[in-house]
Symmetry: C2
Subunit: 319 residues, 2 copies
């Protein structure tokens, strides 16, 4: 895949870590146009150095504040930081409803931090595929630590977390039963647990619950650390960074990090291939006219969805 | 697609509404084996009569209790009911963590209610595709109203809600700000709003917030009704059923229901086609050996994901 001279300039800008070039490149790779392929190709060759840290947990756990403080701490250590905030959005307006965040102001004048909010909706190839592309840009741009924040525990979020080298799960005391139940979905992907808002009542109970749940899960290597934080007062944030680095070092030594990055590459390949096939179907197989004809027959119960699909697949020569 | 005589018996059982046949058929269509296609083909021809009602909203809104009471009310009116409860689950254990519900007991002896819990994870073709298949079985089985309950506001949930003829969004007073913010993602898909737990403080404020948000959205036809309920005391449930039926009648008259069902058929077709292509890729294109080879080259930065995908697509003759 060839790059144009305009793209070559964009690639150079990203590799130099210029914020405007990074923003531009992310827009190109997010919209999934033909320009994305050569750009990603050129950038991908320069990736693999950044540490990708996923931060997830139920709404109300204080993840945004925590991520903000983690970024501040990393900056004090002289490291460059990327933040990708995956926001729940309206399927109609397409905008990130949590919008411009307070954090944006805190880091606005620091070229060592690049922040991008991503809507959870409207990604043709799926949220995880798009997030993977954005991470490629930030990694190539030399961000040493990239924090990926997601809300919730849907399939999408788990896939996004699966992109990370290290997964941090944030819980808080005092969430309702049903919300606590939700955590089970992300319990087993955690490398490091955070109990945030640890100035509230019930911290010990949450920590005990996590320990009890961990005792049920067969341990592959070391047990996840449990760190308590009060992010809004900057308490425990240094310990959290330390726990993340301890995990990363151990995973590097044991070979887990290499295995995980291979698994990530495999998942990325699968997602991009499915995304590509879906685009092909939309553009070349299920044209508007053909789709209307099949819908007529479906609504009239003259065919059924799987039979219709087999017809299409047969015509493609893939049956 | 031909059905075997065993399958013909299963189809007959489903069409007669026999609970064991329904359960069996759902298992077949959920696991996505080759048996699913002829079964779904035979059943799909007998669908289109049931009214599909999506019920969604944030965790803690009391949706399960509400759905349970709606089912009881519909049964009193002599109508048969299907319930599909989409539960958040662990990606590792695969089980529905909310598990067997209290509701199961309430309706266990009533053959006029069929209840199925579905895990949100592990659906090869995606949750929405699988849910669509389960609805085909319940509709063919003659369930007059099918209630589909989902938790949360991820892409999955919005797609599942998109399967419904009527979408009900459940909110409650007193949820935190971030959880209330999440509602914006599902605000615009609501045909009927419910403010549940209406015996709590703050009901008027939630109703006012919904009205204010609705005033910002361009109205296509009638404004969504807002119903207040206290599901655990059975208050407001009859009014909710009335509001759903009023919407359905109006949507039928205006042609909205027909347009919506066409859109649903189109989305179903697209999902099943993407699911089919993904299976094809897994089984025939990205074999384990080939995948390992590509991963080696990705990890070594000798290629990038999009270039690798173009190579694969080129070999398929689809480029």
């Amino acid at each position: 895949v060839k790059t144009s001279s305009l793209q070559a300039a964009l690639v150079e800008g990203v590799l130099r870590g210029e914020p405007r070039a990074i923003a531009r490149a992310i827009s190109v790779v997010e919209d999934g146009s033909m320009d994305a392929a050569p750009l990603l190709g050129a950038l991908y060759a320069r990736t693999g150095r950044g540490l990708i840290v996923g931060v997830t947990g139920p709404p109300g756990a204080g993840k945004s504040t925590l991520v903000d403080r983690m970024a501040a701490r990393l900056r004090k250590q002289g490291r460059t930081v990327g933040i990708v905030a995956v926001d729940p959005t309206s399927p109609f307006t397409g905008g990130a409803i949590l919008g411009d965040r307070v954090r944006m102001q805190a880091h606005a004048l620091d070229p060592g931090v690049f922040i991008r909010s991503m809507a959870t909706r409207g990604h043709l190839g799926g949220l995880a595929a798009t997030t993977g592309r954005v991470l490629t840009v930030l990694d190539a741009a030399g961000k040493e630590v990239i924090l990926v924040e997601t809300v919730g525990v849907g399939q999408d979020e788990v896939e996004v977390v699966g992109i990370a080298d290290v997964s941090v799960v944030v819980l808080v005391p005092g969430l309702g039963d049903e919300i606590q139940a939700l955590k089970a979905g992300i319990m087993e992907i955690a490398d490091v647990f955070v109990v945030n808002k640890a100035d509230r009542e019930g911290v010990d109970r949450v920590v005990a619950e996590i320990e009890s749940m961990l005792s049920l899960v067969p341990a592959e290597g070391r047990r996840p650390a449990i760190v308590t934080t009060v992010a809004c007062e900057d308490r425990g944030v240094a310990e959290l960074i330390d726990a993340i680095e301890a995990f990363r070092d151990e995973a590097h030594r044991s070979g887990l990090l290499v295995r995980r990055r291979r698994a990530q590459a495999g998942a990325l390949l699968q997602r991009e291939l499915e995304s590509r096939l879906a685009s092909f179907v939309r553009a070349r197989v299920l044209t508007a006219e053909e789709t209307e004809g099949i819908i007529d027959r479906l609504v009239g119960r003259e065919t059924d969805p799987l039979t219709a699909v087999e017809d299409v697949v047969g015509r493609l020569g893939l049956a």
